[in-house]
Point group: C2
């Protein structure tokens, strides 16, 4: 493969595949399949071009070359019996399926059974008999390189590799092949273009006994233990590309609307709810002193001092004394560390990395408020953490939020911003991830495209918290676990009933929430009972965007912080400062990216929406 | 301000400021100053338009309205003595400076001294004398809203507000004003347009005694204790906008080159070096049981059990018994928790949130490799952490990296990618942050624009590690702390000498590094002594991009992991899996965003490049 890696050689290859050149993948030694397969002509006009492709085997079939069916011809016009229709012409032994445990049995039967693995291919030189040399196969691979939801059919002669055909054909094998693009030989073939391989430049084999993926479509929850392999499935590949598009779309939306990105900290001293602690003390103590008591160490010090005295008195050589002194020093250091360990909390804090208690952030909006009070409109996109011991399909310990904060803004502005942002994301996917959305509609959720289209083009239904409660009270005879009455927080059950049953679509619950159900920093309305917040709720998923106008009046915020208790006062001084000096009305919002992804893909479980999910009791890698 | 918040009113206002309409700021109730000040005509053709603006006072001057100088006229053509030239005409008492402690003294003098603050303005109704009613001032504000490096001059009549002029004029005061744009009255004025305010819609005052910023340009290191206010300084504002541009540019570069964004986890079980531990056990134990020994609690349980027996025997009412039983239950729970606390490490792990030791990630490249082995080209952008106890101008505990990983790629591909990415970022800033770069060149580092231009248009100098060592050995008579010889890691001192002295520019140290100076996963070269890595090093800053081809051969990676020790084996099984199944040559890179920002702005200290820096012994908010 080395000869294909250099830039000047790429240019040369670009010439080879002209007159309609296919762009080589930048920074890698092959053409991305997307470039071939997502053209308006499906790649038809590329027939005859020489290319290098690479990818992983999605499925494979082999046809014995001396089988009754004539081998497919490399010419493009002639139409011999195509691979997909030869099934009826050849015996079942000629169709090798990718799932190794199946074809292992098959080969065992063929070779007369026994324990030897791959008897036909593995040891031809040992048996030394020409008659038992491996039969030659034409292998039809479907190869995916993750650049597109579509795969390329690659036709390989088994003689091109010394690796047994069975092994080549395993699901997940990595193949880099050079060859010529051609129209498929089968008239009935659904694909427009395929590659006739001339050389295999690289094969990365699979150990099928241990490889967790299978040709059958596995349920997503079974894949979760193999988060490092699941992007090789078409569904997780598509979801990742949708996730990627939503990320760029988020940056694009905010920056094109005049927002500045601000990097807010992940390690923080402020926050609320169940938080993760960040520390360097826990680990060191455990590693170094496990089981050692201060008394034991002090006894050792006494013993070692006595030894040194003895060495000195007995006129030992200086090196021995120096070694003993060095050893004593280490023990006294250890004693000092153990003593520190026994100190009260304040001392422990000082010993910790930051010299104070530090946590993983639950929200970036506080820090954004500081930058909004200087730059006007700001946003951020980063990880947020909650240590609630909840394990369900909507909750993770680590999620990513897009958060925005705007000075000179009130609640309505944040609502408009959330509304526009939400629609922009839906539109962006429809326009930029057409192939993936088509696949997801087919495989995961039939309604997903129409849902995105409806969201992008219609107005969101908006009503108040009070109206929501009234709808829940009068709109149904159903009994909820938490009885809906003014003053209670809307539960997942309530929200789901509002969106899925009553409104049959996304809604925005706006304006005046009871003070008690929202955090302390949300702006108090004139009635002194309600606060200025909103939630954008979507069917089946729940809240995707939350927003609020935050309190800009010093006295009111100060009073709310006092209610939190005395320990909070000091850590919120900087936040109060923003109201002491040059305060301004401001509002903001926060989108939960994983929940947006659930809405956009119809996936039922958040653990399948995130590459490496972290949840209660689970952090794999 | 409420009447300006709604969308339909905005549209109406858009009409008012036509025929060359100035776009209203979306999602906030004012026009962004950038829209006025960064037009090609500097805003000249907007004279006569009515607008609402908002921002924070950067500086202010007041001219007494009955002073000998005629008050500036609202007409645009006539040129009365301009404010900037009236200085010579009026007495020093008429120039009020923004720094409160200065003009407090001034007013004390004017009002005959004494302890009363703002005697002239504060209590006119108390004195009841018309003669002591506050004199009227015309106040010239320079207002910034952070959308642009430039400020707008806003002319306000002190009578528009009941707030004393001195307080209005404080640096950092937030002002929202409605008025009409006009050409400046002073012929010599440098600005093209200013606002004659007709109404003050909002004033957010400052307590100048406590406000940390001052009109004088403060050294950046003095601002670090006030990270929540420093974006209000022009320099930090500019740096933030540059940071924001670099963020969008990074996403744009990778997505337009066919990379998919992948969200890699922040909480991880793999990693190397000094790491932060993430836990939920430490906090709870400290909070709940500080100082309580298991013996004390067990004694309490005995006591409480005895009480219950007594209550039952003495025929007390059922409620009292129930209360006592409930109380006992709480105590036995506490005892159980304390006992758990005393269990050995394995038990502690199980009690912790994830049921295993969890850390903050040091690099996303491992997880990216998994997705590259499925999707081909992937990248990510997220926070990375090291708990090294280092406190210097180049090191933070929390930094953000842009990382990319490419399958079917070798070292040269990653080098080309790094080279293109680096140049793309430089070019992007020159094209999209012209005003900020101009300001930064003036205020922070004169050479910054020419440096970006040179980088964007010239080839990067590339040489090998061996050549670098040879240059350090022969190119200078200087003595380094670490003697440069083949096999040692290049120190900051070495790198700085190479870029700043020998090459006078950025360099890429490429290809074969000694195996010992790079991490275990870097691909072993054929000589078995060196590995396939590179570093892009820039003057004054050091390494901005590091990259490598990572080991794709199972046996070699397996051997390297064995060398790490037995505890590592299990946690790297998933990483080895990528080589077991469908392995492929792949390479990648990692850009340190904060270091890129230092290069792009010339800032000398990383603590000024990040909004809320976290470093050893320091996490403010």
């Amino acid at each position: 493969m080395d000869s294909h890696g250099k830039t000047h050689q790429r240019e040369h290859e670009d010439d080879v595949i002209s007159p309609k050149p296919v762009a080589l993948s930048k920074y890698s030694n092959r053409i991305e399949l997307k470039t071939l397969l997502e053209r308006s002509d499906g790649g038809a006009r590329l027939a005859g071009k020489r290319v290098v492709i690479g990818g992983w085997v999605k499925s494979s079939r082999a046809v014995k070359k001396d089988s009754p069916a004539p081998p497919p011809q490399p010419s493009s016009a002639a139409v011999p019996p195509p691979p997909s229709t030869t099934k009826s012409n050849i015996s079942c032994t000629e169709i090798i399926q990718s799932k190794m445990n199946i074809f292992r049995k098959l080969f065992d039967v063929l070779s007369g059974g026994g324990k030897t693995t791959y008897p036909i291919f593995d040891k031809p030189e040992i048996t030394g008999q020409k008659a038992t040399s491996p039969p030659e196969y034409t292998i039809y691979f479907l190869i995916s390189d993750g650049s597109s939801v579509n795969s390329l059919q690659v036709v390989v002669d088994s003689a091109m590799s010394t690796i047994p055909a069975t092994q080549l054909m395993s699901l997940g094998t990595c193949i880099v092949a050079e060859g010529v693009l051609r129209h498929p030989l089968a008239a009935s073939a659904k694909h427009v273009i395929e590659l006739e391989a001339e050389k295999l430049l690289h094969v990365g084999t699979v150990d099928p006994e241990k490889y967790p993926l299978s040709k059958k479509q596995l349920p997503l929850h079974l894949l979760r233990d193999f988060s490092h392999f699941r992007p090789r499935t078409t569904t997780v590949g598509s979801v990742t590309r949708v996730h990627s598009a939503l990320t760029l779309a988020s940056h694009t939306f905010f920056q094109s609307n005049g927002f500045q990105y601000v990097q807010v900290p992940v390690i923080t001293t402020t926050g609320f709810g169940e938080m993760f602690r960040v520390t360097t003390t826990l680990d060191k103590e455990e590693k170094k002193h496990d089981g050692l008591s201060i008394e034991t160490v002090k006894a050792a010090i006494k013993e070692k001092s006595r030894l040194i005295d003895h060495l000195k008195r007995s006129d030992s050589n200086r090196e021995a004394v120096a070694a003993a002194v060095h050893d004593l020093k280490k023990t006294t250091d250890l004693a000092a560390q153990l003593e520190k360990k026994q100190k009260p909390k304040a001392a422990t804090q000082k010993l910790d990395f930051f010299g104070c208690d530090a946590y993983l952030t639950v929200s970036g909006r506080f820090h954004l408020e500081s930058y909004a009070s200087a730059l006007g409109k700001v946003y951020t996109y980063g990880p947020r953490f909650t240590a609630d011991k909840i394990d369900n399909a909507r909750h993770l310990a680590e999620t990513w939020n897009v958060e925005a904060e705007m000075a000179f803004s009130e609640l309505d502005d944040a609502m408009d911003c959330a509304d526009d942002f939400f629609k922009f994301l839906c539109r962006y996917l429809l326009e930029n991830r057409h192939e993936d959305m088509k696949f997801i509609s087919k495989r995961v959720d039939k309604t997903v495209t129409t849902r995105l289209e409806a969201t992008a083009s219609n107005s969101l239904l908006r009503f108040s918290y009070t109206e929501a409660i009234s709808l829940l009270q009068t709109g149904t005879t159903r009994t909820f676990k938490t009885k809906p009455k003014w003053g209670v927080a809307l539960t997942e059950e309530h929200l789901s009933y509002l969106t899925d049953e009553i409104c049959k679509g996304s809604v925005m619950i706006i304006h005046s929430y009871p003070k008690e159900v929202k955090p302390f920093y949300v702006r108090l309305n004139d009635d002194k009972k309600t606060v200025a917040a909103f939630d954008l709720v979507v069917p089946k998923v729940g809240v995707v965007i939350s927003g609020s106008q935050n309190e800009e009046r010093f006295e009111i915020l100060d009073a709310s912080i006092k209610e939190l208790g005395s320990t909070s006062r000091e850590k919120y001084e900087w936040y109060l400062d923003l109201r002491r000096h040059g305060t301004v009305k401001h509002s903001g919002m926060s989108l939960k990216m994983e929940h947006m992804l659930l809405f956009a893909t119809g996936l039922p479980d958040i653990k399948d929406a995130v590459p490496f999910p972290r949840s209660w009791g689970k952090a794999n890698n």
